[in-house]
């Protein structure tokens, strides 16, 4: 996998993970182009498209689009399930995850992703094992939790 992007229906980028070295300028250009392309597609269309030399695999969960760029030889369907497994991990960790969780806890979203995918390849596909690793890390943290009140939001799963 070359990169993964999460963006909202409004085209706001929520998470970006790059597994190939690119300049910031190039990253921004790619993001702009892809967000536009994917948002322009209709609901029933297929989840794959050719883009430059790459294959794009995307899926929408509630207000969020998850979008991966893979290489010619890579497997589209298994990438679709990588996306789903990641959503499941977020869901389990946050408890009915929604877009706001990812906005306010973006660093957690990155940590979970790193436990699941590394270098663009699946590192650990067992949901239990990934969550165990994250929870262990959480145990090491000081308890300084705060609540910032309820905000209107939409659950992803």
């Amino acid at each position: 996998m070359q990169f993964m992007l999460l963006f909202s229906r409004q085209g706001k980028l929520r998470l970006q993970k790059w597994y190939v070295p690119l300049s910031d300028k190039e990253k921004k250009k790619i993001t702009r182009e892809l967000v536009q392309t994917v948002l322009a597609r209709k609901p029933k269309m297929c989840s794959f498209l050719e883009w430059r030399d790459l294959k794009i695999v995307y899926k929408r969960y509630a207000s969020l689009y998850f979008c991966c760029a893979i290489e010619d030889q890579d497997n589209e369907l298994i990438t679709l399930e990588i996306i789903h497994r990641y959503v499941e991990l977020l869901d389990k960790y946050f408890g009915s995850v929604c877009e706001l969780d990812i906005i306010f806890n973006f660093e957690k979203a990155y940590f979970i992703l790193d436990e699941f995918l590394l270098g663009g390849e699946a590192q650990e596909t067992s949901k239990k094992n990934v969550l165990k690793a994250i929870e262990q890390a959480d145990l090491l943290q000081e308890s300084q939790s705060e609540d910032w009140g309820s905000l209107p939001n939409e659950e992803i799963l």
Binding site: L15, Q16, F48, D101, G120, E124, N129, D138, W148, S150
Partner: protein, 926 residues
């Protein structure tokens, strides 16, 4: 449900994020961010030392701001400090910041690497993982250099925790991708392969990816992985879903690992060992069987995971291309998917079938699905699926179904999405040519293409139809008749006018017997389109008219009247005006014989690869284009093959652009005759050789002189106003040259402009040996003459004298200059005095190829400036000529006109003699 606040909340961060979200406008957001940046900067610079928590919070805010798309130019140092915190969350945020915002600042890299090294050595698995994740995320060369030897050690060490092994494996994979030269193979490779046997499926998953990447680089070293991969795969596909516990995904056993193992096996040919091979075949059959079983779940995740494994298995079957039974089963399975209600599956089935179409075992099986695929082309609502259907039709096309497929593609073209029209046009053009039995069908097809999608018919396509018509006399009459009829339409595409003009100009006589298409009718028809066409088409039509004068003397008067009209003779366009003047003159003064010779029918084009195919390959990337020849090798017995070969051979494929060049290009190599004369080594052969001189205008190295005895080669380099030339004298005989001497002489005027100092050279050259002489050159002021190298030696008792014009030209002292469009035009205007500009319009002596022209201009010494000229076909360059006394800035512009086979070269420099000389030198090169 409120956002969770698991772990550590950072209230300040949450407030800041809320503020940003509440901003009503982009301006408000920028304002809020700038305020925050100022705040953070002052905190970081403040006297009071920040505690770890505050540092973490601010670093995290900076990260958030960066991820919003704003630039961050500080905070790196604070992030690096966090790396060495012993509080996990602070370390973690530090690593995240570094991973996202890596800076090539070398001091920082050193500090980061130190922190990573400490964490790797900490034996704390959580810290080790953070460090490994950071290396994998950054993947820079510096990190590879620092850690590439540690990571394999961690990976294979017995005491390493499973989770660390997983991270280490993928970390190594990433470093191998970014700096493959740094990853050493060693005794650890065997132990890495054995990770495929590991008890922990997560470790196996990560290791399989690593082994696949490494096996692509050095397959020999990882050959043993095949046995282990097959064994592992076999255990997975035969296991009860429940066996693998958490690695079972929606009732599918370890789908990710299965896909990876199948991918690894694609790095190798089918196993030679019979038992292993049959075990693998069993696995593949099991996977194919499972798809037929009733689903264990209705969830799409279940079918996706199952089919992901299936598609990877099919990819392996296609890769092996050796088991007809499996290939046909795969094809049947994909055939079922072609009508599946899931769009995703239809898409993938079409894609995968393209590959099956190129296997001889499954080509026929793929063909049975033609109706379904054509139907997909008509009914699919998603353009990306339709695109796959077009690709598959193209891949499955052969002699037996070409007419149907071409017809379907043509009819699809009428409504096709604009984004894929050009590609379809190319594909139709290629198929029509490749499978044409009689060329009337081919001509009809291409004319249909122009009618339906004229705007998407590129030059290559219409050049090609003309090449084919010219090369095959059996189709010329039909082509003339067909274009004549097509041109009757009140509105026809300009490309049709081009083809029509060309073909009638060549072959209009073949239909002139019919009063409905008499010469005058033909001419009037063409001329009725003239005023609607662009300049290049008009130019082509004028050429067609002069050809008419030769073909049909009876319309000569009419055509001369047209050429003579003010709108032609005084046309504002130079090219049109020139053609009108020249053609009119030609028609008036030339005798019928001369006319017939000059305007003779075009000779057949020589063979070359189809330029259309090249264009399609370029468009699609050659890897994605199924090779039609592969398809062909397979089917329909040998007669078909023979016919095909014949068809492709008789069809020429060279660029049509040299078409209007009436004079054939003289070959640039030395002709035999010249050689014969120059080889007569009479004692006083002092004629100066300058035959190869022009070849050195745009290059510095090569052979400048050669006869039966001696070869003289040159290598030269120039910097500013200085140059050095290495002259190599090669004795081609087996006898020694005696009293060898060589000196450089210049005319009196040249001596004041250029100094050439020649080192002395050994007076004897052994038979077969080579000696070198160095010339030091200095340019004093601009010059146009060239120095002469005079050589004298004794060979077998005869004194030999040779004089060679040395290729030291003014342009050798160019330094290329890059400048912006704005600067260029400003300079251009400043150099507007009449004598500063020199312009020359000349006929192309070589084929007009943009890449060749580009290389020549670069060799000439100027920098080429992109995006200055609004017409991308033109070249614009800039450079400075250095001499001891002055530096002369030079701007140039070269405008090719492929239609007319002409160039226009314009040079502007601050010195008229320089403009003049550079123009002379350069204009001879094209």
């Amino acid at each position: 449900m409120p956002a969770v606040s698991k772990g550590d909340g950072m209230r300040g961060l949450a407030v800041f994020i809320s503020d940003i979200r509440n901003c009503k406008s982009k301006e408000a957001e920028v304002k809020r961010i700038n305020k925050e940046l100022a705040n953070i900067r002052s905190k970081f610079k403040g006297d009071k030392a920040l505690d770890g928590y505050s540092k973490k919070k601010y670093v995290c805010k900076l990260l958030f701001i960066f991820l919003l798309g704003h630039d961050i130019d500080f905070g790196h140092m604070e992030a690096v400090n966090l790396l060495s915190s012993n509080k996990y969350t602070e370390k973690q945020i530090g690593y995240l910041f570094i991973s996202v915002l890596v800076n090539s600042n070398s001091d920082l890299i050193r500090l980061i690497n130190n922190a990573i090294r400490n964490d790797l050595a900490s034996r704390n698995p959580t810290f080790m993982n953070l460090a490994l994740h950071c290396i994998a995320n950054v993947g820079s060369r510096e990190m590879a250099e620092a850690f590439v030897s540690d990571i394999p050690r961690i990976l294979v060490a017995g005491e390493t925790m499973d989770s660390v092994k997983q991270s280490a494996a993928l970390c190594l994979l990433r470093l191998n991708r970014t700096s493959p030269d740094l990853v050493p193979m060693g005794e650890w490779t065997a132990r890495v392969v054995h990770l495929l046997n590991d008890q922990h499926l997560g470790v196996v998953t990560a290791a399989t990816s690593l082994i696949t990447t490494l096996a692509q680089k050095s397959p020999e070293d990882f050959k043993t992985s095949v046995v282990l991969a097959v064994a592992r795969l076999s255990r997975i596909v035969t296991s009860a879903a429940i066996d693998l516990q958490d690695y079972t995904y929606y009732f599918v056993a370890a789908p990710w690992l299965s896909v990876k193992l199948l991918r690894l096996l694609q790095c190798y040919p089918p196993p030679e060992d019979a038992a292993l091979r049959s075990r693998l075949t069993e696995c593949l059959e099991t996977i194919l069987n499972k798809v037929q079983e009733p689903p264990k779940s209705k969830k799409v995740q279940h079918s996706n995971a199952k089919n992901a494994v299936l598609f990877e298995a099919i990819a392996l079957i296609i890769h092996h291309d050796s088991e007809p039974n499996l290939l046909v089963r795969a094809c049947n399975q994909l055939g079922q998917f072609l009508q599946h209600r899931e769009t995703n599956l239809r898409y993938l089935a079409l894609e995968s079938m393209c590959l099956l179409a190129s296997s001889e075992f499954s080509h026929e099986a793929v063909k049975t699905h033609i109706e379904t695929v054509i139907n997909a082309l008509k009914t699919e609502r998603d353009v990306s699926v339709r695109q796959r259907a077009v690709d598959l039709l193209y891949a499955m096309c052969d002699r037996s179904n070409s007419k149907q497929i071409v017809a379907e593609m043509l009819s699809y073209l009428e409504t096709a999405d604009y984004s894929i029209r050009e590609e379809i046009v190319l594909k139709v053009a290629i198929l029509a040519e490749k499978y044409a039995v009689d060329y009337t069908w081919y001509v009809d097809t291409i004319l249909n293409l122009i009618r339906i999608a004229g705007d998407y018919v590129s030059e290559e396509v219409w050049y090609r139809v003309i090449q084919i018509v010219i090369n095959r006399d059996d189709v010329q009459g039909y082509a003339a008749k067909t274009v004549f009829e097509a041109l009757q339409a009140p509105a026809c595409h300009e490309n049709l006018v081009k083809v029509g003009g060309y073909i009638l100009g060549e072959f209009g006589n073949l239909i002139a017997g019919d009063p409905r298409s008499s010469p005058l009718v033909q001419f009037n028809l063409l001329h009725s389109k003239f005023h609607l066409c662009s300049v290049p088409t008009r130019a082509l039509l004028l050429s067609a008219y002069i050809k008419f004068i030769n073909l049909f003397p009876e319309v000569k008067g009419t055509i001369q009247d047209v050429l003579r009209s003010d709108s032609q003779l005084r046309n504002a366009d130079v090219e049109l005006q020139q053609r009108a003047v020249e053609y009119l003159r030609l028609s008036c003064i030339a005798s019928t014989d001369i006319l017939a010779t000059v305007l003779e029918e075009m000779p057949p084009f020589p063979e070359r690869e189809s330029s259309i195919l090249a264009k399609l390959k370029k468009k699609k990337g050659s890897s994605k284009l199924p090779d039609l020849d592969d398809v062909r090798r397979s089917v329909n017995g040998s007669t078909d093959h023979a016919e095909n070969t014949e068809a492709t051979e008789t069809v020429s494929a060279h660029s049509f652009t040299d078409k209007l060049n009436l004079n054939s290009t003289p070959s640039s190599g030395p002709s035999l005759l010249v050689d014969v004369f120059s080889d007569v080594s009479s004692p006083a052969a002092t004629d100066m050789s300058e035959e190869h001189f022009p070849r050195f205008v745009c290059k510095n190295n090569g052979v400048i002189y050669e006869n039966q005895l001696l070869q003289i080669g040159l290598k030269s380099e120039y910097r500013q106003n200085l140059g050095r030339m290495y002259v190599f004298y090669g004795n081609k005989t087996s006898t020694q040259f005696l009293s060898f001497s060589s000196a450089v002489t210049s005319s009196d005027i040249l001596k004041t402009q250029l100094t050439v100092h020649a080192k002395t050279v050994d007076p004897m050259i052994e038979g077969g040996a080579q000696v070198q002489q160095i010339l030091n050159i200095e340019c004093l002021s601009d010059f146009s003459d060239a120095p002469v190298l005079s050589i004298q030696f004794r060979y077998g008792g005869t004194l030999q004298n040779i004089a060679v014009k040395l290729p030291v030209m003014l342009n050798k002292f160019f330094q290329p200059t890059e400048m912006t469009s704005q600067d260029f035009f400003q300079r251009w205007k400043q150099l507007g005095a009449p004598r500063q500009e020199v312009q020359k319009i000349f006929k192309a002596q070589h084929q007009m190829d943009s890449d060749v022209a580009k290389a020549k201009l670069l060799g000439f010494g100027v920098a080429l400036l992109d995006g200055v000229d609004p017409n991308p076909a033109n070249f614009v360059g800039a450079g400075i000529v250095h001499s001891k006394t002055t530096q002369v800035g030079c701007l140039l512009r070269l405008e090719p006109n492929t239609q007319a086979q002409m160039y226009r070269l314009t040079l502007r420099t601050s010195k008229d003699s320089v403009s003049q000389r550079l123009c002379e030198l350069l204009s001879d090169q094209f």
